[in-house]
Amino acid sequence: MILRSLRLRSFRAHAETGLEFAPKVNLLYGPNGAGKTNVLEAVHYLCLTKSFTASTDRYAVREGAPYFEVEGTVAGVREAPVDVRIVYVPSEGKKVFVNGAPLDRLAEIVGMLPVVVFSPEDYDLTAGGPSERRRFVNNILSQARPVYMDDLLKYRRARKQRNEVLRQYKGRRESPPSSVLKPWTEEIVAIGSRVIQQRHDFLNTFSDYLTDAYRRIEAVAEKPSIEYDTVADVEDLRAAGATTEAESGPPASREAVAAAFRDALDRKRGSEERRGTTLAGPQRDELVFRLDDLEVRRYGSQGQHRTFGMALKLAQFFYLRDRADTDPLLLLDDAFGKLDRRRTDVFLQLLASDDVGQSLITATQHRSFAEALDFETSAHRAFRVDRVEQKARVRPADGGTWDDRAATDIEAGTPDDRDVVPDS
């Protein structure tokens, strides 16, 4: 997919900003806090109806504004370019429009505009807690399979209901009667085993993508792998009679997963009643990342964490591309800040190549990009982002007008900055 244009209204630092993007690399550079990341966040709102940062919708509305609005024109997902618009009014929530028509459910947009985010937080994928890794899997599968997201949302709801039963009876110091608890147990088993089965089968396929991605950025012979740690040993989740294969194993059997999940809940029943909450299920899944035999989370070097994180995201790109039949959009938020020169160059070459599609990059300076990429061509484009009078200002720049001075210098130095950086 190609994001041709983007318009932000009252979105964070942006009062009113319009951008026209190039089909390959788009660089947004400027000082910290100017509003570069906001542009990427806005794009993420269009694709997945939320930010990739932990921030809430309410804070995305520019101070003093009643609502925010983001609109983009996207080519390459349907025959004709599609206009997607998201509006958020704090008292009314979010609404997504595709070619002017409102969607019944926000979830319907997820997967239509596939997107992959690279950021320094990717370090947490390997170094952080299990929830980071579950979120990674949920993100990919939700974009790849609408049914997965539906299952996931239903599972969360059913688990909440079951927890409420456990909580209520814990408060009364009684065991919940089977007539009350069992229907909820069966519901979370039915939905939860679909979630587990889909994760299992996804990870089977995904490990090949990860191996390929890792080789693209690291020449050494270490082999990355992912082990899925869920309600039962993965071997036990497969259909009876299926044999384990070396590379990608056979798919999980729904019945086997459900039986294992029910079993795990039975074993935990006593603790569940004491603690008043559900203690087994996909909400406790863990992924173990390894390089050969080395467990990355515990023993990985800083460099191995960074490379593994990048490889995971790159593998996400290729996996989603194969599922969606279009190039996912790459959003790189300050992703090069902590990378060494060699990895940066490898990655920039990849971004300029035909192997990937369009990318949007934020950085505090343009130098390493200007050396690696030719911004004189129509394939790439650079934008200078500044904060002027409490507002973000975005202006196209090209090789002739690179300007790394702070915005205040520009304001002080020239009475009319339009003379310095002509709009192209």
Partner: protein, 269 residues
């Protein structure tokens, strides 16, 4: 907007108590009422009161109706051997509009939802079981579920326990549909209903099939499961309506999750 009239402000206040009506909409409605003829406003007020004063619940199927038994339960052409179980009266109307269903109904008054304080005993599930077998455990007995592990609070709930009390508020807030009070069927009404159905020829009054037409969400699933377990000991077939594609919707534009589910639940043609 600043109102100087206390009556207008009071009206706005009342409107905001309705579901989906925010303060702005309430002000718009109040403004509109101000401009209407007095006669037209009287009609609205009368209709509002009539709904509370005249409308009652059918003591057999518990649908809101102007008389008891309701037109469907008293229609001898409707097949009494099939009962379609719905969450609310409005769901019954939706199925009636299809004109395809010739059996009778049972309105549960909601679905099981612990988060809203609604347990099985807050719904008309026992009443349903009694329509299938009038000897079904009366209020004093535990349900014949695999729950022989005793249901110590099965009755405590209706006796004003914490969750029983919260059910009333949840019913009003969570289900803005027609059913505001799920427990309004008095024991007398219930036995009347039982008499009415058993006064017919014994075999004719028999229920052969229960169709569960609850919504395909987790609460609907769980309620369906609970009912099917409860009715298992009886000689009655329990089915659930298929979740499918919205009729008239183009396959191409059907939301993909719905489509996948429809494929999963496909039946023989």
């Amino acid at each position: 907007m600043q109102f100087t009239s206390e009556s207008v402000e009071a009206l706005v206040e009342q409107f905001t108590k309705l579901p989906t009506i925010g303060r702005k909409t309430a002000q718009r409605l109040a403004n509109y009422i101000l401009k209407m003829d007095e006669e037209a406003v009287e009609k609205i007020a009368e209709a509002l009161l009539a709904v509370k004063r005249k409308v009652q619940r059918c003591s057999t199927c518990h649908v809101v109706a102007d008389r008891d038994p309701c037109p469907i339960c008293s229609d001898s052409k409707r097949d009494p051997s099939t009962i379609c179980v719905v969450e609310e009266s409005s769901d019954l109307l939706a199925i009636e509009r299809t004109g395809e269903y010739r059996g009778r109904y049972h309105v549960l008054g909601g679905v099981i939802s612990p988060l809203d304080g609604v347990g099985p005993d807050d719904l008309r599930i026992r009443e349903l079981a009694r329509r299938i077998d009038p000897d079904f455990a009366s209020d004093g007995d535990p349900p014949p579920l695999d729950a022989v592990d005793a249901d110590p609070d099965g009755e405590g709930l209706s006796g004003g326990s914490p969750s029983g009390a919260s059910a009333t508020t949840a019913g009003a807030a969570g289900d803005p549909g027609a059913d505001a009070s799920p427990k309004d069927a008095s024991p007398e009404e219930r036995s009347n209903g039982a008499d009415a159905s058993s006064s017919e020829d014994a075999d004719e009054g028999r229920v052969n099939e229960v169709i569960l037409a609850v919504n395909p969400n987790v609460e609907g699933d769980t309620t369906a499961y609970y009912i099917s377990q409860l009715l298992e000991p009886f000689d009655v077939s329990v089915t659930r309506i298929a979740r499918g594609l919205p009729i008239g919707g183009d396959l191409e534009y059907a939301d993909e999750a719905t489509l996948s589910r429809a494929l999963e639940g496909r039946g023989d043609v």
